[in-house]
Symmetry: C2
Subunit: 264 residues, 2 copies
DNA sequence: GCCCATTTGTGCGTATGTATG
DNA sequence: GCATACATACGCACAAATGGG
């Protein structure tokens, strides 16, 4: 008997939840698996039942199963190995955040990322119409400010805003609990959706007073300001973030989307 | 009789060229269409034969045709419209470069990109072992230096290196001809492959003398240095670029890849 | 080294649904 | 209503990679 951490029945139950008339079956299957991962039912490394078993256990044919699983591979949720099986993709859930902002600082060798240690410094309900509200098209926002130590060498300041109504989890967790969380994972678990793309805007400017103070910089100091808007689907922004980076020698690594046309 | 700018026979011929034992048929079909576009046989807006016709004309079944076409949609080469057909995606081939470096400066409104006017300033054969040779794993490189005017407001300096043997086109074209070219398109036409991803490395540093001189900056001036390494497929780097950006108020826009895990 | 079971990958043929004009 | 053309789905067959005996 082979260990079988993920049951086809469990997927079947999730599938029922996400099946809706009009929704393709391969999409329903995808959603079921994604939500199962998001809710912790499936853990990284878990093996899924093989294609045949799924096709038998679920009201979905083999080809359609394969299409759904292929999409999950494309999205990075699954890993499939010929002759072995399909596995929930690993996530390095360490103490430090794995991917703080879709871009990371690299060390001298260029091969490793500097570790990142976030410290939540404040939370505020926002109701003014700022740039964030236009980007998120939300009336109420929660701003979470953090000082993030980069490899204990220097720190950056982050202002992170989400729709307060849509993602109440960010208002509910204590600041202490937020510290250990990867915000992308949090969004994934709360919404069952993956962040599809992030628009980054880079500006050389003076940081706001809050940031200067938190980073211990003198007034008027120039910073690199990185604005990030993350989307779950095309046009559906889920968070708005400003990161202020003081002068540093360290290189910041971003992985850019190559087929970034997106136009008619 | 409906206008039919793209013949199934043409695709068939291309398909023969790209079919190789071991290569999936849907990949061969993809390559055939991509190369047909790259070589100018198909132009933006052209309509492909419908799925049925392709399935009849080519030794590929409907489902496999669909899979290949779907991939082309994902890559942005094709656009498919329900009830209408499959069309070669449009490219805004203007006088100015459309996407100089996977990231662009935006104007005051935030809605438009500043126009970009490249001016090629030099070309040099490289045979030393620089950082470029490690990135490209190439022994001989061609470096093309350019001064790129951003909306006629300010200029950035670019050093662009490709493998001289792999992409001789960059050595063959005159500097004048290179001016009007989008380098990504040039690579696409020469190799028939699309750039899949770009690694960006951002550094606050002093620019090299060449760059300072070309941009008319005083010695020791701090610049934003953007290093870009573009990949055709995972691990297959195709160009290495350094861009030096003088201090500016303008925002630089980058579209980041959201599923940027890429690790085990 | 070789066979074999397991499991994913590729490919075919067909049927039916649905958006467009 | 109707023809066109893409979209989804099924069921099957066989190829190819993997790991164990």
């Amino acid at each position: 008997m082979i260990t079988e951490p993920v049951s086809a029945k469990e997927i079947g139950r999730m599938l029922d939840k996400f099946s809706r008339p009009g929704l393709p079956k391969y999409t329903a299957l995808r959603d079921a698996v994604v939500h199962a991962v998001a809710s912790g039912k499936f853990a990284p490394g878990d093996r899924l039942p093989n294609e045949q078993e799924l096709a038998e256990a679920l009201p979905i044919s083999l080809g359609t199963i394969q299409r759904g699983l292929r999409q999950l591979v494309d999205e990075g949720v699954l890993q499939r190995r010929h002759g072995q099986g399909s596995f929930i993709a690993g996530r390095t859930t360490n103490d430090e955040m794995s991917h703080p902002f879709h871009c990371r600082f690299i060390d001298d060798t260029g091969a490793n990322y500097l570790k990142v240690y976030p410290k939540t410094t404040g939370r505020k309900q926002l109701s003014d119409k700022g740039l964030w509200s236009a980007a998120l098209s939300a009336a109420k926002g929660v701003e979470i400010t953090r000082v993030i130590s980069i490899g204990k060498e220097f720190s950056v300041y982050s202002s992170f805003v989400v729709d307060a109504l849509r993602l109440p989890i960010f208002s509910e967790l204590s600041l202490r609990e937020l510290d250990g969380e990867n915000f992308k994972d949090l969004i994934f678990r709360a919404s069952g959706q993956l962040i599809k793309r992030v628009d980054l805007f880079l500006r050389q400017a003076e940081a706001p007073k809050d940031a200067l103070k938190a980073l211990g910089l003198s007034e008027g100091a120039q910073c690199l300001c990185l604005k990030a808007i993350a989307y779950l689907t095309e046009g559906d922004a889920v968070y708005y973030q400003n990161i202020y980076i003081p002068p540093t020698n360290r290189e910041l690594h971003v992985i850019a989307d190559a087929r970034a046309s997106g136009f008619e």
